[in-house]
């Protein structure tokens, strides 16, 4: 069990109102995940806890309910962790508490406790993935625009030029991430798996039914290839039109997509894991 699950639950505040995300249906003794077609069995206590979440209870009420049912905090947090990992946990929080949670998140991150933000979940659609990419990259877009305004204010560049450059870079970044995720989803769909987008500020992922190792590798590789090709095309066009700064930005974005193939995280990890499974199956 992970340290965060056994010791604390930093991702929720006592008065957060919980809910189950789209695609998850609670039945008598099962939790159905329509997105991947999974049917998880529930114990009586598990069903009571999930019923409470589905009904939109507060986190402190859920903890009290778990205590009455004799459920250990570690077990409850593990269940919440699992729901969060598959983008199945929804949360409503007041703006004041949002600020409090940000402080808590920064403190816990500094203390080395792994934290996980809560995600939104939606069945894949072209517009949906564009919206998700926009929300996921909002911190980068905000930082770019702020930087452009600061540069203009300090006479480092004319405001118009700085804003056009920042906006152009952001549009290419968002489009390349949209194409990256769409690449994964289309490849998964080709293998008969429906994809679900999971996103939060600064993070975007695609969830689907686990495929065969070969198919999983291809699905993982298609995304970075699609994103990198788009930004590379933008870079070549920028260089051709003598927009050297924009060409450099495109090259940077291409590198980010290639970095996704690093075996320790994200797509690279998925490919490495699929290849390991395939190797085990062969031997």
């Amino acid at each position: 069990m992970s340290r965060r699950a056994s010791e604390r639950c930093p991702l929720l505040l006592p008065d957060d109102i919980l809910g189950l995300a789209v695609g998850l249906t609670l039945q008598a003794d099962h939790l159905l995940d329509v997105a991947v077609g999974a049917r998880h069995s529930l114990s009586q206590s598990g069903e009571a806890i999930l019923r409470c979440i589905a009904d939109g209870c507060r986190f402190d009420t859920l903890q009290a309910e778990a205590t009455i049912l004799g459920i250990k905090a570690a077990d409850l947090y593990s269940l919440l962790d699992f729901l969060n990992a598959i983008g199945g946990l929804q949360r409503k929080r007041s703006p004041r508490n949002q600020l409090r949670a940000l402080g808590l998140t920064l403190r816990t991150a500094c203390m080395g406790v792994h934290w996980s933000p809560l995600h939104r979940r939606r069945i894949f659609s072209p517009l949906g993935v564009l919206w998700a990419s926009l929300i996921a990259t909002l911190p980068v877009i905000g930082a770019c625009l702020l930087l452009a305004v600061v540069c203009a204010g300090a006479n480092l560049a004319p405001l118009g030029n700085a804003l056009i450059f920042a906006l152009g870079s952001c549009i290419i970044f968002v489009c390349s991430i949209t194409l990256h995720e769409a690449g994964h989803a289309i490849a998964a769909w080709k293998y008969g798996a429906q994809a679900t987008i999971i996103w939060s500020l600064g993070n975007i992922a695609l969830l689907h039914r686990r495929l065969s190792p070969g198919a999983e590798s291809i699905v993982s590789l298609t995304g970075p290839a699609a994103g990198a090709l788009l930004s590379l095309a933008g870079g070549i066009l920028g260089a051709h039109l003598a927009w050297h700064s924009l060409a450099c930005v495109c090259l940077g974005i291409t590198l980010l997509h290639i970095l996704c193939l690093w075996p320790g995280y994200g797509d690279g990890q998925a490919v490495a894991s699929a290849l390991r499974t395939k190797h085990k199956g062969d031997t």
């Binding site: 998880h40 593990s78 204010g153 300090a154 992922a205 995280y265 994200g266």
Partner: protein, 64 residues
């Protein structure tokens, strides 16, 4: 967690996550840091231009 939920063994989750958004934010923060340094050196109204010459590996800051 087994006391509460038993995961479906027939269907497992596959996930593709795009992580480098944080890296992109770090790149913007580094550029922002350089801009901040220029503003500190030249003053808010004093900074006129910042040029990066990759071939000579130099960064030129011209103050007013």
């Amino acid at each position: 967690m087994q006391n509460l939920i038993t995961l479906d063994q027939h269907i497992q989750y596959g996930m593709q996550e795009f992580g480098p958004i944080i890296l992109a934010l770090a790149v913007v923060a580094i550029i922002g840091g350089s801009v901040g340094a220029v503003i500190l050196m030249c003053g808010w109204h004093g900074a006129k231009s910042m040029t990066v010459d990759l071939s000579h590996k130099t960064l030129s800051i011209v103050c007013r």
